[in-house]
Symmetry: none
Subunit: 107 residues, 2 copies
DNA sequence: ATGCTACGTCAGTTGACACTTACGTAAGTG
DNA sequence: CACTTACGTAAGTGTCAACTGACGTAGCAT
């Protein structure tokens, strides 16, 4: 399930949206005014972020308030950690490889 | 510079490639045989991963050996941590500046 | 009911991306 | 030298994602 999150975070505007609603709630329209794209575009971005589990939606009257969802990033972070940090000797091995590569390159 | 890394990781095959060369070196051709796509496709994936700083390339004769580069993920992980855990709002302000600049530029 | 506000959604266009085939190239082998 | 191996690169194609403009809808007030 990390794929939707990664795909959501690739878009620069979606990352900016996340930063905007990281520690304060904002309505869709308020978010849209901060960007140069049209309001429907922001609405679609919010849908992508919501389906990725990265934000929460709360309805208040005619408005919809959004906020970043911290748990959404947890899965992504553990996946990222597993991909590289698993096991202990990997960094050492990589360093040895680089040393060997430098040597063979005649540096 | 997190954008190239994110863009590289969105592709499922590139993530599989990374997992393959996480703790062992592999030649481009050997990697290609593990997938159903053609060898040039894998070569293009490797170029994307290399430009994102996620892998290292080492030439040995006519072959090119690839391996995951642990440091490549460090930047991505700190960015991910800052996006949610940073209590000071520095990243948020930066994003707002970007959004405002984007808007004022009329993009 | 009428009107207004703050949204989401649909339809269509454009640009980016992954893929294929064909070609070019550097390093080793007879 | 020619020949093969192990690659990267170029050109073209199909697909998907982001955008715009038009439309539909829920909530509130008059």
């Amino acid at each position: 399930m990390i794929e939707p999150a990664l795909r959501a975070l690739v878009e620069p505007r979606r990352r900016e949206i996340l930063a905007l609603i990281r520690d304060r709630e904002l309505a869709a329209g308020e978010i849209a005014t901060r960007f140069s794209v049209t309001r429907p575009a922001i609405s679609q971005h919010l849908a992508v972020l919501r389906e990725a589990g990265l934000i929460t939606e709360r309805r208040a009257g005619t408005r919809r308030l959004y906020r970043a969802r911290p748990e959404g990033a947890a899965e992504l972070r553990t996946w990222l950690a597993d991909l590289w940090d698993d096991g202990l000797g990997r960094l050492k091995d990589a360093a040895e490889d680089e040393a060997r590569a430098d040597q063979e390159a005649g540096r």
